[in-house]
Amino acid sequence: MSFLEEHLAGILIALAIGLLTTLNFVWMSRVPRPIPRALAEAEGRVGGSRRIVVFLDPYRPEPSAVAVAHRLAAATEAEIVLAALVRIPFTRSLSVPPAQQETIERGLLAELAEGLRSLELRPATRVVPSRQYWDGAKEFARRLGADIAVIGVGEESAFERGEVLEGLLRELPLVGCEVIIIRPRATERSREQQEAEVL
């Protein structure tokens, strides 16, 4: 009997032990990298969210903002509220909102909410009238106890103006609300179209 035949079983056992042990050490040495503190804290803040509010311009809603809120809510089991921010001019009284306009806004929101049923999402809807968008948003977020505000800056929406966005970004964190800005994808409008508009 040759050496190989005589010791075949032992050789096979030795090979199996060697291979398994090596693989084990390779697995051990590949330790995942630690997450930086800032990222972990941000994850923690988002992970702890219980209420997410999506601020929309009812006349120019940005659907991708709702989609982002939906993803966040799915991960954190938070509830979603769709809030239409409506600016009331100083010439009108805040206490007597124009009924016709509010009906239209409510209708638009309800329409948007209805469209979300395919995602098995039934968000609460609110119309938030205010003199300035950021004041209304801040007060609404405070009363709601919102943890995250997703702001959909739709094409030609009222939020596109720099001062409005700046105000929302400034005021909402004051009530402990993280702000996420969602803009439409650049691909939605072709470069040619954009250039044509500029010209």
């Binding site: 010791h7 032992g10 060697g18 042990t21 050490f25 051990m28 804290e41």
Partner: protein, 519 residues
């Protein structure tokens, strides 16, 4: 030692080597003992003890990565079950570490004597002096005592150097251990002899129980990794990997060594060679045996000395944790201001190790006596650790666990919060309880001295707490604050964020519950 003095600088390899230097050496001490006791069924004894060890290892992996602090089993028991259980576990571990010092010092010098015998032909273990009707192996005894004193001196002078020494020799031993094992299977292992012994050399039930309970000592040492958890960098990522790798490698090599031993030599050839069984095995190898045997003896000497050293190191961390939680007097917490070493703890507990060595040499079988006590301390500690695992899952479901013992049942605790009941933890608890029963039933020394040791320390606990005016009940502690501090000091920011969030949600839930009750 203040918590800040335990710096987090242990890497994944450092963590692995910390455990390996303790548990990796066990086979050098345990192989001969178990083979002689369990005879042809030694691999089965190792496999059964190994299965229990895997479950223990999984529990330690979960607990050490969720609570990365010094103290190990004692800390988990204090936090999960209260001060009394924490103290009982602590006292069992103190027994283990002091026995660890004695057993491995004796075993290390046993291998040293085999090395001397290889070169000079003089067997120093054969030099005996009559004492109280026994023949005491006086030179071996003096060698073991000298080694313990040397380790005390090294550790009192400073630990950093001894830690580096641990790692270097640990790596060398790991390589040689694997080489001997693999070459042994390739060159001398006979499936025929192995099968013959497995079928025809079965022990009696009593012998098998004795052997399998001794086999557990080949797996003792996982505790060391959790003792070093407070010094490990990013413990949530490193500890699960180092611990699981240690569990797997030790499990597979221990069983493989038992299979190799029974397929190379008849089991009774190990009788009288319990202290240098791996050298005996290496000597059988053709051609390389002349090199492998002295090399194994040298490595056995070194790794077992390191194991004894890890006993000295770990006992200081354990007593630090125990005195921090008012389970032991602050006297044990003293740190030498010049050398920054816990000199009192080292002197006191290594001194107990010296006493164990003297006592063991006054019995008919040195290794057997120490093995008995070691098995008792380890199994008692593990029983309580399993209880602590269940209790902590139930009490603190919000603590993030980077590793979870698999197979769980979703249950609700008293506050109505959901927690995962560890089914494998319950199986492990029963398994360790069986081993503890075996130890108490079959080990005459462990049956008497083990409980006496624990009761003696319990009397000290009662005296200390009464004298300090703390009482015997569990002291109120802010575990939430402590957990946040632990996670922040470990730079586990993700876990910290998850924990803070879970604590807030739980507090909110309790508030809502209270409001609902009021309404």
């Amino acid at each position: 030692m203040a918590p800040s003095q335990l710096r987090r600088e242990v890497s994944v390899w450092g963590s692995y080597m910390w455990g390996f230097s303790d548990v990796g050496a066990d086979i050098f001490a345990g192989l001969g003992l178990v083979t002689v006791a369990a005879q042809g069924a030694a691999p089965i004894a190792f496999a059964l003890a190994g299965l229990v060890y895997i479950l223990i290892g999984l529990a330690y992996t979960e607990l050490a990565s969720a609570y990365p602090v010094a103290g190990g089993g004692q800390y988990f028991a204090t936090r999960g079950l209260g001060d009394l259980w924490g103290f009982i576990t602590g006292s069992a571990l103190l027994l283990d570490y002091t026995i660890d010092i004695a057993l491995f010092a004796v075993s290390s010098t046993g291998y040293l004597n085999a090395l001397i015998a290889f070169f000079s032909g003089v067997d120093l273990t054969a030099v005996k002096v009559p004492f109280l009707g026994l023949h005491v192996q006086v030179i071996w005894l003096l060698e073991a005592l000298a080694l313990i004193v040397a380790l005390m001196w090294i550790n009192i002078r400073g630990m950093r150097e001894s830690n580096l020494f641990n790692q270097v020799v640990g790596v060398a031993t790991m390589v040689i251990k694997m080489v001997i094992l693999l070459l042994g299977f390739v060159t001398v292992w006979s499936p025929g002899l192995f099968g013959l012994q497995l079928v025809h050399q079965m022990p009696s039930l009593n012998q098998f129980m004795y052997g399998s309970s001794l086999a557990i000592i080949s797996f003792v040492g996982l505790e060391s990794i959790s003792q070093a958890a407070q010094e490990t960098r990013h413990p949530s990522r490193i500890l699960p990997r180092s611990t699981l790798t240690l569990i797997f490698t030790i499990f597979i090599t221990s069983i493989a060594y038992a299979v190799l031993a029974n397929g190379t030599l008849p089991w009774h050839a190990f009788a009288g060679h319990e202290q240098d069984s791996v050298t005996l095995l290496a000597r059988r190898m053709p051609f390389i045996g002349t090199i492998a045997a002295p090399l194994t003896a040298a490595m056995g000497t070194a790794i077992l000395a390191i194991s004894a050293n890890s006993g000295v190191m770990s006992v200081s961390r354990l007593t630090y944790s125990m005195s921090h939680h008012h389970l032991l007097s602050g006297w044990f917490d003293y740190v030498d201001p010049r050398r920054f070493t816990p000199a009192r703890t080292i002197l006191f507990f290594s001194g107990i190790g010296l006493v164990w060595t003297l006592v063991a040499f006054a019995t008919p079988s040195v290794m057997d006596t120490l093995g008995n006590m070691y098995a008792f301390g380890a199994t008692l500690g593990y029983v309580v650790v399993f209880l602590a695992l269940v209790a902590l899952r139930r009490k603190e479901p919000e603590v993030p666990r980077p590793f979870l013992v698999p197979v769980n049942l979703r249950l609700r605790n008293r506050e109505g919060r959901t927690y995962l009941f560890p089914v494998l933890g319950a199986v492990g608890f029963v398994g360790v309880l069986v081993v503890l029963f075996e130890v108490l039933y079959t080990h005459a020394v462990g049956r008497i001295f083990g409980p006496v040791w624990v009761l003696g320390w319990l009397a000290y606990f009662a005296y200390y707490r009464k004298r300090s005016g703390l009482g015997l009940r569990t002291l109120p502690r802010d575990w939430v604050k402590e957990q946040k501090e632990i996670l922040a000091s470990a730079e586990e920011y993700q876990m910290l964020a998850q924990y803070e969030q879970a604590v807030a949600v739980a507090a909110n839930g309790r508030l809502e519950q209270a409001e609902g009750a009021e309404r």
